[in-house]
């Protein structure tokens, strides 16, 4: 057990809901609590804690409800200083705040699994100031199993396996691929593979890491070829293989790692896994051809977009989940739901990626999709807009130099298309999370939920 910790905050208003979820998660992470509970207790009689949805209009409703039930200017004997004894000089008239605390709780216990707070999709933990502004403190105790969360161990294992696989390769392919692998990346696909592999009776961390590394190599190999096709100069902040080594070597590097990943998977000796990944690779290739062909019909429509995205992005994410489950011998119900979870997550992930093209803070060059005439949902929605759609179509039909790209971006912003795409992506994430309901997920659910949400939250 770890005790003696204090969470301090400065409140700014008389009644205020302050979301402390991220700060509690930081405490859990810093303590290395992997499984257990975190207890949070207010050290004040006018500071409560509650769990609810962090939605601004709802917070306003809750503040007004407190005012309605226990009015600030009601009559409270506690405020009748003439009748009280031993009153401090700075005693405030705050009977309402004490009374309001009866509607809340002074303490809360949150469960922790795999290093993460266990919270439902819409749940946030709030400190509730009832007599602010003040300097406030909560006492925190953490109990359970401490150590590095499984997720970090899994990630390390995948990184080690990737490094091990690359180490034995000829330098001419190893060096450029290592540069790409070491530049980072989210490792979404291998992480999903490893998590899914925990859901079957034959879970073997080393075999799961091998499969996960192979999945990442397929993804990276496809990026190497994509960058050549898109004539991209940088990837993950570094020169692309095509830009630094030339197109001929980029093609060979991509081919080498497609083949190597296929071999690693074949050597695992699970025909279902081999077929799942092979089918995903085929789907990726077909959609890439489709994607390039659709650039002639830019910006396309929603159906074409979904068709491309399902293959280009969702196929491997979905296969990562399914193959992980198959490798461990998970039941068909679990495997099927994970497959659908991956499909929905993959589409949402790509929609979020589309939004990055309009974000100055994403770290990616803005307007690339427009310049390259990539099928992108914000553009499709902007062309459907009655007010700006005509002008967007007109611009997209002509040459796209800097002024045109800037104008298209401004029109997309003003059309509300970005909000619409964000909303659709969040809806898909919610649907993906619903796929996880009603199946036994062996403690993996919070991580899968977290991954799904963060895929979209990184942008929206």
């Amino acid at each position: 057990m770890i005790g003696g910790r204090r969470l301090e905050l400065s409140t700014r208003r008389g009644t205020e809901f302050i979301d402390i979820t991220a700060r509690l998660q930081a405490e859990v992470t810093a303590a290395g609590l992997s499984q257990g509970r975190v207890h949070v207790q207010s050290l004040h009689t006018t500071l409560g804690i509650t769990v609810n949805e962090n939605e601004p209009l709802l917070i306003g409703d809750l503040e007004r409800m407190l005012e309605r039930l226990v009015p600030r200017h009601g009559v409270y004997c506690h405020d009748d200083f003439a009748r009280r004894v031993n009153i401090p000089a700075d005693e405030p008239a705050n009977g309402h705040a004490h009374a309001r605390l009866l509607l809340l709780q002074p303490a809360h216990t949150a469960l922790v699994e795999d290093g993460r707070l266990v919270l439902g999709q819409w749940q946030s933990i709030f400190a509730v100031e009832l007599d602010g502004p003040r300097e406030r403190r909560f006492a925190i105790q953490l109990e359970g199993e401490f150590g590095r969360p499984d997720r970090e161990r899994d990630r390390d294992l995948v990184e080690l396996e990737l490094a091990r696989q690359l180490l034995v390769d000829p330098e001419s392919v190893q060096v450029p691929m290592r540069r790409l692998v070491e530049a980072g990346g989210k490792r979404l696909r291998p992480l999903l593979t490893v998590l899914a592999s925990r859901l079957g009776p034959h879970h073997d961390p080393l075999r799961a890491a091998a499969l996960a590394a192979a999945v990442e190599l397929i993804h990276d190999a496809s990026l190497v070829h994509d960058d050549y096709v898109d004539e991209a100069a940088t990837r993950r902040g570094r020169a692309t293989v095509s830009a630094s080594e030339g197109p001929g070597r980029a093609i060979a590097v991509g081919d080498y790692y497609f083949a190597k990943a296929t071999r690693i998977i074949a050597e695992l000796g699970n025909p279902r896994v081999t077929s799942t990944i092979a089918e995903a690779m085929e789907a990726i290739c077909i959609s890439q051809i489709d994607d390039v062909n659709l650039r002639g019909y830019f910006p396309g429509d929603h159906d074409a977009y979904l068709r491309v995205v399902r293959g280009k992005t969702a196929a491997l994410i979905s296969a990562s989940c399914l193959a992980g489950a198959q490798l461990a011998g998970a039941g068909s119900e679990v495997a099927g739901r994970l497959c659908r979870y991956g499909d929905l997550l993959g589409i949402a992930f790509q929609m979020a990626d589309d939004l990055l093209d309009y974000s100055e803070h994403s770290g990616k060059p803005v307007g690339t999709d427009i310049r390259q005439r990539v099928v992108s949902l914000p553009l499709i929605y902007a062309t459907e807009d009655g007010r700006v759609g005509g002008r967007v179509r007109e611009l997209l039909g002509g040459p796209l130099d800097d002024p045109e790209v800037r104008e298209v971006q401004a029109l997309v912003h003003s059309s509300g298309a970005l909000a619409r795409v964000g909303e659709e992506a969040r809806g898909l994430v919610a649907a993906a999370v619903r796929e996880l309901d009603e199946i036994e997920l062996n403690g993996v659910r919070p991580l899968l939920v977290d991954i799904a949400r963060s895929a979209v939250d990184r942008v929206t």
Partner: protein, 123 residues
């Protein structure tokens, strides 16, 4: 020619039909004797991909690269369908070898030799 195409499932040539007359069919004929159709098609697809993508020569244009990728992926799926692990491993090693040679600016081992040996290993 029609007889040969008839023994291949339509789905196995989807998106690649135009390659048949452009050399894929001839490559298939080469591998087919004594080998089941999907293995012969897988070998022909790998050989076609290596040619399309210009491994060991001038780099392919983007369109050819993507078609070549689909050939390789289709070959992997066909081999997965066979359920033969030795065949899958041997084919993958053949592609690893020619692509490593291409990336190292070394002369390529003839693909037919590598694939012929791969098919032989699995027999």
């Amino acid at each position: 020619m029609r007889e040969q195409v008839a023994e291949i499932r339509e789905a196995d040539l989807a998106h690649l039909e135009s390659l048949w007359e452009a050399g894929l069919g001839q490559a298939y004929d080469f591998y087919r004797p004594g080998v089941e159709p999907r293995v012969a098609l897988a070998a022909a697809l790998v050989e076609t991909a290596v040619g399309l993508q210009g491994l060991g020569g001038p780099a392919a244009a983007a369109g050819e690269l993507l078609i070549g990728d689909l050939c390789l992926a289709r070959a992997s799926r066909l081999l997965a369908d066979t359920g033969s692990q030795p065949l899958q491993v041997a084919f993958a090693r053949a592609v690893e070898r020619v692509s490593a040679e291409a990336s190292g600016d070394r002369p390529l081992t003839p693909v037919r030799d590598l694939l012929g040996a791969a098919i032989g290993i699995a027999r």
